[in-house]
């Protein structure tokens, strides 16, 4: 079963612009994680935000978490062509030990 749902499903922007992807989930979580997947490759862990955190930064990435709305957003600032990939949110529910992924957002950065 898919826990997280990303929005939009696909996003195409110009290089240099900011990209924002959203993730909504259904049950209470321990943490929420964002992963990147380049075409034909495995998933790469980007950032983890715990349920008691509201915002985290890592380089050009900014993740927010609103547990009252059961939603998270991933912001990539000053996008580059190399950021072209699919981005997935994944949630670790309270009491569970497995990470459940959403369907992903396919991001295309146009040069």
């Amino acid at each position: 079963s898919q826990q997280g749902e990303e929005d939009p499903q696909a996003l195409s922007i110009q290089e240099g612009e900011n990209a924002t992807m959203n993730c909504s989930y259904k049950t209470s979580i321990n943490n929420l994680q964002w992963y990147r997947q380049n075409s034909g490759r495995g998933l790469v862990h980007l950032i983890l935000i715990r349920s008691n955190e509201r915002e985290k930064h890592s380089g050009r990435l900014r993740v927010t978490l609103d547990t009252s709305k059961k939603s998270s957003s991933l912001l990539i600032t000053a996008s580059r062509a190399a950021d072209t990939a699919s981005y997935f949110c994944a949630t670790l529910s309270q009491g569970a030990q497995k990470l459940v992924f959403g369907q992903g957002t396919r991001l295309t950065i146009n040069p």
């Binding site: 898919q2 495995g42 862990h45 983890l48 715990r50 497995k98 992903g104």
Partner: protein, 115 residues
Amino acid sequence: EAGVAQSPRYKIIEKRQSVAFWCNPISGHATLYWYQQILGQGPKLLIQFQNNGVVDDSQLPKDRFSAERLKGVDSTLKIQPAKLEDSAVYLCASSIGTGTGNTIYFGEGSWLTVV
């Protein structure tokens, strides 16, 4: 540090044939996962091991899929007999443990096409 190793990278088989995928996790990682990712979808957990014990296999189609991690290190995932809908990428991943802050590291995946 070596990452999660998987083989083969690509496999094409006919339906009703069998296939096996192998995974070597990062050294010292007690938890090993097999995910199935159908094109255009997010990964779906098939089975999760903690050392050589199964933690979760609720979404593993046990009539045709099997997985083992006999010595708590390497793991194999087998499909027998394969169906067309098994065409997917099979991702192996590992983590130090199942703690809530543990990062999961993924291999490059084994791409299966069933014809």
